[in-house]
């Protein structure tokens, strides 16, 4: 029996630091050819295990190969102004910067352990209940809260209440809903019809659109897969 244990890496820099530590490599003198091979092997291993590889790993692979190529160039041929600069320098700088912050995160880890048993008071609402009714103003709120509230609202898909409603809603109702909208507006986007509705509704509306197209009451148009579907009413829409 084989057991494969794959360490989880936070990104290509994390992986490179792992190789450097494992093989006791001097970070200022990285054997680039060897590291590149290691890196590519890792990617191949991930591929063979059908693990999705983040694009930044591929970008790093390309960077490594580029550095490797530069290192192979004989010095006399290399006449560019930056010829004196070690092709590895930029990568090394990034690795060191990243490693510094990893060290800091060790420090933070230690601090959090030290402080783990101090719990703070977390509930202050009761303090102000007595006055809150008299207060006219509100505590300043982060705009992110507002934006998130809106985002969550329009993306609410798993609303159990609506799910129950779905059982009551029939395809005829969805057709009726779209028809009534289309009577008001000659052109409407599918997204607009769906906006504010649950996933179940969206599916229902889509089926309704297909039915209406079949009945030649509307046309549906979509320029390409990325874009919204536009619905146009035909003269048949009024004949119910």
């Amino acid at each position: 029996m084989f057991k494969i244990v794959l360490p989880i890496f936070e990104g290509p820099l994390d992986l490179l630091l792992y190789f450097i530590k494992r093989d006791e490599i001097n970070i200022y003198d990285i054997p680039i050819a060897r590291i590149t091979d290691e890196f590519l092997n890792y990617i191949r291993l991930m591929q063979s295990l059908e693990i999705e590889i983040a694009s930044e790993f591929l970008v790093m692979a390309a960077t490594l190969m580029e550095i490797k190529a530069k290192m192979l160039l004989p010095k006399e041929i290399n006449t560019q102004p930056e010829a004196d600069v070690d092709p590895r320098k930029q990568l090394v700088d990034r690795l060191i910067e990243y490693q510094i912050f990893k060290e800091v995160s060790q420090f933070l880890h230690k601090k959090i352990i030290e402080n783990q048993y101090y719990y703070f008071r977390d509930l202050f609402e009761s303090e102000i209940q007595e006055f809150s009714s008299k207060l006219k103003t509100y505590r300043p709120t982060n705009v992110m809260e507002l934006a998130k509230a809106f985002y969550n609202l329009i993306n609410k898909q798993n609303d159990s209440i609506r799910e129950i409603k779905l059982n009551e809603l029939k395809i005829e109702d969805a057709i009726e809903h779209i028809t009534s909208l289309m009577k008001k507006e000659k052109q409407i986007s599918f997204k607009k019809i769906c906006s504010g509705h649950s996933l179940q509704y969206k599916i229902l509306f889509f089926v309704a659109v297909l039915e209406l197209v079949k009945q030649k009451k509307i046309y549906a148009y979509q320029s390409d897969l990325e874009h919204d579907i536009f619905l146009f009413s035909t003269s048949n829409i009024m004949n119910n």
């Binding site: 719990y119 009761s126 509100y138 300043p140 504010g196 996933l199 549906a220």
Partner: protein, 231 residues
């Protein structure tokens, strides 16, 4: 730490309950306190019978905890702490004694301490992003009656009537005010985060959203066939 709650000194038991109420994120019910003790001090109930200090029956455990809370309240009073434990909606929470509440109201930070409720935040969010918008449109998105919230936001000066919609009944349309901008530290509505930005923060990692993506894709696929057929 002794695992058995009932082997602890009574004072120790009280401290545990006090600290639990002290640190709780929301008012904590008797039931939750009892649950916590039962789950974390193995066999707390089982031990009751054997306990030398207390001769309690299992069904009295709730009452016992309640009596401890009463004792804590007395202790706080006796030791002259300027706060105590109160029961709010059937749950326990710490709060300042009313006579000191007056002092707090003088604190500048307390003057605007009232938090926006979730419903208010939601409604404000809709109005901010969709203005001008009518009440029925707000209700359409929220899926619930919003008259009270809209009125309250009007009262607080966070929204205002900006016009009337050209549709049956000519309903009022609402928009946000300068007061609203101040509350969220914005210079203008242009500074509202756009939805794509928010999206990048809220990753599509939950299963339901995965389903959505998949379905969207299927819809597009279907439609491809469909638009082909209509051509």
């Amino acid at each position: 730490m002794n695992n058995h709650f009932f082997k602890l000194e009574k004072e120790e038991q009280k401290h545990i309950i006090e600290v639990l109420i002290f640190s709780s994120e929301e008012p904590i019910s008797l039931e939750k306190i009892v649950d916590f003790i039962e789950n974390n001090f193995n066999n707390a109930i089982f031990e009751i019978g054997n306990n030398q200090n207390f001769d309690l029956k299992i069904e009295n455990f709730d009452e016992y905890v309640q009596s401890l809370i009463e004792e804590i309240k007395e202790d706080l009073l006796k030791t002259q702490r300027p706060y105590n434990i109160y029961e709010v909606a059937g749950s326990y929470t710490f709060a300042t004694l009313p006579e000191y509440g007056k002092i707090l109201s003088l604190l500048p930070s307390f003057k605007n301490k009232k938090r926006l409720s979730k419903a208010m935040l939601e409604t404000l969010a809709i109005i901010a992003y969709q203005q001008p918008i009518t009440k029925p449109e707000i209700e359409e998105i929220r899926g619930t009656n919003s008259s009270e919230i809209v009125n309250s936001l009007l009262e607080k000066g966070l929204i205002q009537v900006v016009g009337r919609k050209d549709s049956p009944g000519r309903p009022f349309q609402f928009g946000t005010t300068v007061e609203f901008l101040k509350l969220f530290g914005l210079n203008s509505l242009q500074e509202l985060p756009n939805l794509m930005e928010i999206k990048s923060f809220i990753e599509e990692k939950t299963k339901t959203e995965d389903v959505t993506l998949k379905i969207d894709f299927e819809i597009k696929n279907n439609n491809e066939m469909d638009s082909n057929s209509t051509q």
